[in-house]
């Protein structure tokens, strides 16, 4: 069955707010890995306080993905280092997501 995989890469300090907001918008789960990288807001590396990034993945249906994306666009895009992208994925237990 098809679902969406939404990947968000952003500042580690946003973690709590992001988790709360994602769940509030209907996601049933998320997975986070620590990451570092570079983009329009310069190099972001861990190693000192929360200077690094997190990479958040959410498997969900298209509507939830859309809700999360537009929430992020409105609230965080302007002021935070953040990118996100969307892919189609096939899952085994679609009722979970």
């Amino acid at each position: 069955m098809q679902r969406k995989l939404l990947t968000i890469i952003t500042e580690a300090s946003l973690e709590r707010r992001l988790i709360a907001g994602i769940k509030q918008r209907g996601a049933h789960g998320y997975t986070i890995t620590e990451a570092y990288g570079e983009g329009s807001r310069g190099v972001r590396e861990s190693g000192f306080e929360k200077a690094g990034n997190i990479r958040v993945e959410v498997v969900c249906d298209a509507a939830v993905a859309e809700r999360i994306a537009s929430w992020l666009r409105e609230h965080y895009y302007r002021d935070y280092a953040m990118i996100l992208f969307l892919q189609d994925v096939e899952v085994l237990r679609p009722e979970k997501f």
Binding site: S13, F48, K50, D79
Partner: protein, 315 residues
């Protein structure tokens, strides 16, 4: 007056970073070191507090809180002189400079040990009190009374941040357990303190070096501010130390606290409460300019001057 070896570690880090050496301490090591530093500074303060009359202590702590606000306001005033700087950026930077740097404080403590000057140990309690007020001030300056996410969420960010929790927790532990109770943990928390500080400064040198490139980007005004403000903050700190009747050693510490800028508590809080402020600006100023300046030049300089003018100083 020879160089304290912990400074050499900072220089090593700075040099290795500037040369892009393949040397990085993992973030877990940084975390461990900073937790140890915060706890032991807190505990030292707590142990010393039990000897001080409560009334006197409260007055001094209140004075110190005022000092944080004064430093923040003065910093904001200076920053508003620039047309190019957004109000939110000025407010955020002011919060950093009104608040304090625990690493800089630790270097000043090591400096006093190095030159053999004693101080009121309870000054460590000032560090805790100085952290917070200027951060709150900065938020008000930037957004009036409306921080991003509301005051409730914000209080969490400020009072439940790592540095406040560990300093305050250490303080309470030191106060409750006292010197005798803490003897058992002294090898790790007190005897190893200076070695841990040395490693911490190595890491801070590496971090500061990676920020050096950003100075150019942020323009000459911020650079100038980051060099001038420590002197202004030092004067404010020395003034408060004089009024509060501290000894030469205590005065150096309060002067250094005034001169120092936060790079743990303030960045975390401002990022959440005033997201429109550019975090690169304030961090570069405090970490890549003011921190090295205080560590390498400021502390010995403040000491010389205080030594020359302080009532109880021999010189």
């Amino acid at each position: 007056m020879s160089l304290d070896p912990v400074i050499l570690f900072f220089l090593l880090g700075l040099g290795a970073g500037a040369l892009k050496a393949d040397l990085r301490l993992p973030s877990a090591v940084y975390e461990l070191l900073s937790v140890l530093l915060l706890l032991s500074i807190g505990m030292k303060g707590g142990m010393a507090m039990s000897g001080v009359p409560a009334g006197e202590l409260v007055v001094q702590l209140a004075a110190v809180a005022v000092m944080g606000l004064v430093t923040g306001v003065v910093a904001y005033g200076l920053l508003r002189l620039s047309r190019g700087l957004a109000r939110s950026d000025a407010a955020s930077i002011a919060a950093h400079y009104g608040s304090v740097s625990v690493g800089t404080y630790a270097v000043a403590v090591a400096f006093l040990a190095h030159v053999g000057v004693s101080f009121e140990e309870y000054v460590a309690a000032f560090v805790v009190v100085l952290e917070v007020p200027a951060i709150l001030l900065g938020i008000v300056l930037a957004r009036g009374a409306r921080p991003e996410g509301g005051w409730r969420a914000l209080a969490g960010e400020v009072f439940l941040g790592k540095s406040v929790v560990l300093l305050l927790g250490g303080l309470l532990i030191g106060l409750i357990a006292g010197p005798v109770g803490l003897e058992g943990i002294s090898p790790l928390f007190f005897d190893a303190f200076k070695g841990i500080l040395a490693l911490f400064l190595l890491e801070m040198g590496l971090v500061a070096a990676t920020q050096l490139g950003a100075i150019r980007r942020h323009g000459v005004f911020v650079l100038a501010f980051a060099l001038v403000m420590p002197l202004v903050g030092a004067i404010i700190g020395a003034g408060f130390a004089f009024v509060m009747g501290l000894s030469l050693g205590g005065a150096l510490l309060l002067t250094t606290l005034g001169a120092s800028a936060s790079y743990i508590a303030a960045p975390a809080a401002m990022r959440m409460a005033v997201p429109e402020a550019n975090p690169g600006l304030s961090l570069t100023a405090s970490l890549a300019v003011t921190f090295p300046f205080n560590v390498l030049v400021g502390i010995p300089l403040y000491f010389r001057i205080l030594q020359a003018v302080w009532p109880d100083a021999g010189g």
